[in-house]
């Protein structure tokens, strides 16, 4: 068993050796860290990055249209192809296997020649920073289970999210904030759940407020009371709590609860400031496309992700939807690209210019990709109005920043862009690699639950060493 151990420092032991008491303690992050499950822990291996920003493209971007075009599909546009799709995955709207070509060019970019669509001009401009994985695969072709898999490794069971595992493995650098924040998460809370890990590691959802008065984090403020009243109440509560602790010779949980209330009280002050993007320069905002009609929401989310990373949050996720193009992909895909291209590329550039990219790992991925052949739900639409069905068999993911080789294309798919033929990276491998980059051995990072030592990668996963810088 390799449970990580927390420093056995009792908060009370510290208290006995300081004259400051609780008042002094309230602002002393180091001491708080001593009893927190989020206390900093040393990595197991040499870390190549300290933190992760996961840009989750919910819905399944079409890798064929964006990164991995196939001549045979272009050539046979509108005609049936002889693709090896297993019987149990065929259904009415896709069974004709009509090749659906790409109408917008995908070209080599930069020094490295990474192939990227004209639909992603900002991403194309940073091609040499990206490590493009072109043969990623997963196990389920439905959104719910597939999204669960990219977050937790499991398809059906509720397991800890990757952000929770990393929080558990490394702790956090900022004790006024949770270690794992997820911006604009989807409705399935299991995707950022700590599951059987201690709940301190669960993702805290953040929703950028539409209105100034709305809190970005649940229960962060109470519009019905003023600060002075809240302070009075807080002091009264903590006085009661302290008296209770003093009555005992020391109860770690009661101490932890006092600490937690302190953190929450501080978060009320720290978090709104972090979420407030108004202090950023115009140039920075422009970089992310903030103010742009399509890009504003994701731009602000990505900028917030940078601010949170900068503040020491270990794992930040930004979810961007709009990729589920079952029909009229030629109409829908440009919109999804427009909404995400500049924000994501702007994030990379901003991290780079602040010197943060070298120890921040950015991962861009959907839960799966889309079929090279078309899908027609109506059964009557012309090929130009067709969409694409889900495809977990292969899809593209990119990474950038700490620990990965920029300007590298890794992996190839077959002539249809259906199955990987080389450089195959399963989601478990991706997870193992992310942990490895952070200095965590995916086989050693375990938690004992119901008699078994669980891992993020279950019993699978190989670090993709070829992509490590």
């Amino acid at each position: 068993m390799t449970h990580l151990r927390h420093a056995p420092l009792s908060r009370r032991a510290w208290l006995r050796h300081t004259s400051a008491g609780f008042g002094g303690l309230a602002l002393n992050g180091l001491l708080q860290a001593a009893t927190s499950p989020l206390a900093l822990r040393a990595p197991m291996l040499r870390p190549r990055a300290k933190r992760v920003i996961f840009l989750f493209m919910a819905g399944g971007p079409s890798q064929m249209d964006l990164f991995d075009p196939k001549p045979i599909i272009q050539k046979k546009h509108g005609q049936s192809v002889d693709a090896p799709l297993p019987e149990q995955h065929r259904h009415e709207s896709t069974e004709k296997l009509l090749a659906l070509g790409t109408d917008i060019p995908v070209r080599p970019r930069g020094q490295s020649g990474l192939t990227i669509s004209d639909l992603l001009p900002h991403t194309a401009a940073i091609a040499d920073e990206l490590c493009l994985l072109r043969a990623v695969h997963a196990d389920n072709n439905q959104h719910g289970p597939a999204a669960l898999q990219i977050h937790t490794g499991a398809i059906a069971e509720a397991r800890p999210s990757i952000g929770s595992w990393i929080s558990y493995g490394l702790g956090t650098e900022n004790q006024s904030l949770p270690a794992f924040l997820t911006i604009h998460p989807g409705i399935d809370t299991r995707n950022y759940a700590a599951s059987f890990l201690p709940a301190a590691h669960q993702g805290t959802p953040v929703v950028l407020p539409a209105k100034e008065s709305d809190p970005a984090i649940d229960f962060l403020s109470d519009p019905s009371t003023d600060a002075a009243s809240q302070r009075r109440r807080y002091d009264f509560i903590q006085r009661m709590n302290r008296r209770l602790v003093d009555r005992d010779s020391g109860d770690a949980r009661l101490e932890g609860m006092i600490h937690s209330l302190e953190t929450a009280f501080r978060m009320q002050a720290a978090a709104p400031e972090l979420v407030d993007l108004s202090k950023e320069t115009e140039a920075t905002k422009k970089l992310y496309g903030i103010g742009g009609k399509e890009t504003d929401k994701n731009g602000r989310a990505c900028l917030l992700a940078r601010r949170l990373s900068e503040a020491g949050v270990r794992f930040v996720q930004v979810t961007m939807g709009g990729w589920d193009h079952h029909g009229d992909i030629r109409g829908g895909l440009p919109k999804a690209c427009a909404a995400t291209d500049q924000p994501c590329a702007g994030l990379i550039r901003d991290l780079q210019s602040r010197g943060l990219l070298e120890d921040t790992l950015v991962v861009w991925s959907g839960e799966f990709g889309r079929t090279p052949w078309s899908q027609d739900l109506s059964g009557t639409a012309p090929i130009e109005k067709h969409g694409r069905e889900h495809q977990p068999e292969s899809f593209c993911t990119w990474m950038a920043g700490g620990g990965v080789k920029g300007g590298l294309m890794h992996g190839e798919t077959d002539e249809f862009g259906f199955r990987p033929v080389s450089g195959k990276v399963h989601l478990h491998d991706l997870h193992a690699t992310i942990l490895h980059i952070l200095g965590l051995d995916h086989e050693q990072l375990t938690w004992r639950h119901q008699g078994r030592d669980f891992r993020l990668t279950d019993v699978y996963g190989e670090v993709v060493r070829e992509i490590l810088a």
Partner: protein, 843 residues
């Protein structure tokens, strides 16, 4: 990279060679030095370079396959021999390197160069000459059931008499004798009893999930008789609140939610019947063996009345109400996943067995083989649990028609009348809309638009009323399929890679008899139920008793409450566990009698503090002298048993989400009378989308836009549980305080401490509302502030306030009144108390 079947399922794998011992013919191999040289020069380097990393004794042995010896590929891995000499086309190794089978592509990361594939093909075609010496392969033995039975949990339950103790005055009952004997042996003195307020709060929360009221506190303090404690416990056990509390504990094991699966928001519109079944069962103290039988095989049990038939059908909701993926294209895999959930649930809930991993391989630690798994799985394969809906690729959970009762007929008739009236109204409006226009163009258009809007609205209400018809009672439940059959073992859980058929049956390691006869045409669930509910089953009573113990004492006698296997915790008090299990069965499997016995023990009265009795607790200090003083050789347990395994004191517990919300309702006097019935307010058409159904319509879904007014004041157990998104309405509090994800089997909930909880305590509107209700209650009548402070403490902390607390409270009120009115000031004070750790914990 794993086996020949990569990533079939997220499950542990062993290296067991399924086909170990199977004999197969080896084609006459080409002998001689030329063949050997071919192997050494051309084939072996490829194997070494490309395969050994994952398939050799020096590297990993993935999929059970080694290629570093001839015997390695002869035996092969999980899917049999890797090479058939002379038959390249039949050799899995060749198929794998050709990437001909997407589930078996080797090496996994990149296909071999064509030239290397050719060499391997030639090698096999030439009879696979392989001169290598067989490496010493230690064949991994199969599971040994007899040896496995030696594990304590599979041994028969053996009663033993309560042991003698030195301090004969301490034990109040048999439980205490067992506990004290151990403490005395270890030289640890138990702490003193908790004060009466603490005990009353503890027992009231533990048994009912609610706090004691002011009146109940007064009554207990006034009762000077020796039976005061008994009277409290009996009152609590008789209450409906007890049943509501313990039904919720059981729901934690079931994965209960009013939503089916997690794709979309598909309503489990009949799930509540199972929840109400649990409440009724606990209220009636249904014998646990019967309770088990009904849930596993209620549909197969005889019934003497329509009511009983109904109850038993509803009980089988246990089998289908977990988390399931119903939006799957691959229905075979979906079915296997379903069955897996069911086997796993039956194993963990009733037997403390982990069976999930046995889907793919024999258990690594317990003597449970794939054979055992598929013997059980065949029973669920023979049970109707899902059906394909008319909506796209959706399936849904099986439902059965319940025998109609008079109440249904009345409800149904009334509903029909309403529907008929709506239909009539619609017909009338429709004919009006077709009537020739009496007015000029613009006016007529307006008239028609209004009419059509009304028609559309009526149409929606009619479609909604037809879809959710209260007169046709159904339950999410199971029944046997028409042709029950055995299931075939699968290789690594892959439903397309089948092994031998496995006769349906029971888990061998916990059997005392031969496998039961399963009558033709039956699934075998009845036999399964009988086996679980048998007094000879070594696990059932132990697991059940331990679950109850954990709820009362904070930790189980076996701490891993859902897992009694070899890697679980061993019992801290094995004789006590067996004694209780034996007594439980002897007393007719009565859970109330069991709880009563535990709650009336001395151990249950102990303080949760570490301090000995005379350390002076401020609030109502201990009334019973500590016996530790009388035992000079004994020491406190805090140093020798810091984890309190020997129970020298009571464990503290954080109130669960339900208790926090419900306690605020009791304290503020707003708790609604016991409810029940549907949790989802589907009677409001605005909460349902996708109706009326059309040819191509997707599955209707729910979104709770409107709640019943009463729901804010009902006990939390009655509020709807959803699987995705935040819990609706005031049930939101569940998300914050460790409500288990309804996908999991959660015998013991987490008790975490996270800033989100603290933010909730500081800022949540729900707490403010309950505090305002409570303040309003206190302000009724002309009590003085001092009296009101006393009542506030009794209602929230269930104890009298101390002098200094009173002074602080009065000072707080004075300050708060400077900026607000009386109600606002008292609300602030009540809000503060609801956020204290003393309120949140039961001591």
């Amino acid at each position: 990279m794993p086996s020949f079947l990569p990533h079939p399922l997220p499950c542990h794998r062993t290296l067991r060679l399924l086909l170990l011992g199977k004999v197969f013919c080896i084609a006459a191999a080409v002998h001689g030095s030329a063949a050997d040289a071919f192997f050494r020069d051309q084939v072996e380097p490829i194997l070494r370079q490309r395969c050994y990393e994952c398939h050799s004794h020096a590297g990993k042995i993935k999929g059970g396959l080694v290629l570093d010896s001839r015997s390695g590929w002869e035996k092969g891995g999980d899917s049999g021999p890797a090479v058939i000499p002379g038959a390249a086309e039949k050799s899995p190794l060749i198929e794998a390197v050709r990437y001909a089978n997407p589930d078996m592509e080797m090496p996994p990361k990149a296909k071999l160069p064509a030239a290397e594939i050719v060499i391997l093909e030639q090698w096999v075609a030439r009879g696979a000459p392989d001169p290598r010496e067989a490496a010493a392969v230690a064949a991994k033995p199969g599971i040994d059931i007899e040896a496995g039975r030696q594990h304590w949990a599979y041994q028969p339950v053996r009663d033993s008499a309560p042991p003698a103790v030195r301090d004969a005055a301490w034990p109040l009952n048999d439980v205490d004798a067992f506990l004290l004997a151990k403490l005395e042996a270890e030289g640890i003195a138990p702490v003193a009893e908790a004060d009466p307020h603490t005990w009353l709060r503890r027992v009231t929360f533990d048994l009912t999930g609610l706090p004691p009221t002011e009146e109940e506190i007064a009554a207990f303090l006034a009762d000077r008789s020796a039976r005061a404690h008994e009277r409290v416990v009996d009152r609590l056990l008789a209450s409906r609140a007890y049943a509501e509390r313990w039904a919720r504990h059981w729901l934690d094991l079931v994965g209960y939610a009013e939503q089916i699966g997690t794709e979309g928001k598909i309503f489990a519109e009949h799930a509540w019947r199972y929840r109400d079944y649990l409440v009724e069962s606990y209220h009636a103290d249904k014998p646990y063996d019967r309770f088990v039988r009904e849930q596993v095989a209620g549909d197969l049990l005889p019934a003497s009345s329509p009511e009983q038939r109904r109850e038993q059908l509803i009980a089988t909701g246990f089998i289908v109400l977990g988390d399931v993926d119903i939006n799957a294209i691959d229905k075979l895999k979906m079915e296997h996943d379903f069955i897996d959930g069911q086997v796993n649930k039956v194993g963990a809930v009733f037997l403390g067995m982990t069976l999930g991993c046995v889907r793919c391989h024999d258990h690594k630690f317990d003597a449970i083989g794939q054979q055992d798994y598929y013997a059980l799985a065949g029973m669920f394969r023979s049970t109707k649990t899902t059906f394909k809906t008319r909506h796209g690729i959706w399936s849904n959970v099986h439902r059965v028609d319940l025998p109609e009762l008079e109440a249904d007929r009345v409800l149904g008739a009334k509903h029909e009348q309403t529907l008929a009236a709506w239909r009539k109204e619609r017909a009338k409006l429709e004919s009006e809309s077709k009537a020739p226009a009496g007015k000029a163009g613009a006016d007529n258009k307006k008239r028609l638009d209004e009419l059509n809007a009304k028609i559309k609205d009526l149409g929606l209400r009619i479609a909604h009323g037809e879809y959710f018809h209260p007169g046709k009672p159904q339950a999410l439940a199971v029944e046997d399929v028409e042709q029950p059959a055995d299931m075939r073992l699968t290789i690594r859980g892959n439903p397309y890679a089948l092994g031998d058929p496995i006769p349906r049956g029971l888990v061998r390691v916990a059997m005392w008899d031969a496998q039961p006869e399963i009558p033709a045409g039956q699934s075998g669930r009845r036999q399964l139920a009988d086996w679980i509910a048998d007094t000879r089953n070594p696990l059932t009573a132990r697991v059940a008793v331990n679950r109850v113990w954990q709820k009362l004492f904070g930790e189980g006698l076996v701490r891993s409450v859902d897992y009694f296997g070899t890697r679980g915790d061993t019992p801290t008090h094995p004789e006590l566990l067996d004694h209780l299990a034996h007594r439980f069965m002897g007393e007719g499997w009565s859970q109330k009698k069991l709880i009563r016995n535990l709650a009336l023990s001395r151990a249950y009265r102990l303080s949760s503090g570490e301090a000995p009795a005379d350390s002076g607790e401020p609030a109502g200090s201990s009334i019973h002298p500590s016996l530790s003083a009388a035992l000079p050789e004994s020491a406190g347990g805090s140093s020798s048993d810091p984890e309190n395994k020997l129970l020298w004191r009571m464990n503290r517990q954080r109130l669960d989400a339900e208790s926090i919300r419900d306690a605020m309702l009791v304290a503020s006097g707003r708790l609604a009378a016991p409810a029940g019935g549907p949790g989802l307010p589907l009677e409001f058409p605005e909460n349902v989308s996708g109706l009326p159904l059309t040819e191509k319509s997707n599955h209707p879904q729910f979104a709770i836009k409107k709640e019943r007014e009463s729901q804010a004041y009902e006990r939390t157990v009655y509020l709807p549980v959803v699987r995705t998104g935040t819990q609706p309405g005031t049930a939101r509090l569940r998300d914050v305080f460790d409500f288990p994800q309804p996908a999991q089997i959660t015998g013991k909930r987490n008790e975490t401490t996270v800033p989100t909880q603290s933010l909730y305590l500081l800022n949540a509107d729900l707490i403010r509302q309950r505090a305002a209700d409570l303040a309003g209650e206190l302000l009724k009548g002309g009590d003085s502030d001092e009296v009101r402070v006393g009542r506030l403490w009794l209602r929230v902390l269930n104890r009298p306030e101390t002098d200094s607390e009173r002074a602080e409270a009065l000072a707080f009120l004075a300050e708060a009144r400077a900026t607000g009115d009386d109600l606002a000031a008292w609300t602030e004070l009540a809000r503060a108390l609801f956020a204290t750790n003393e309120f949140l914990l039961r001591f």
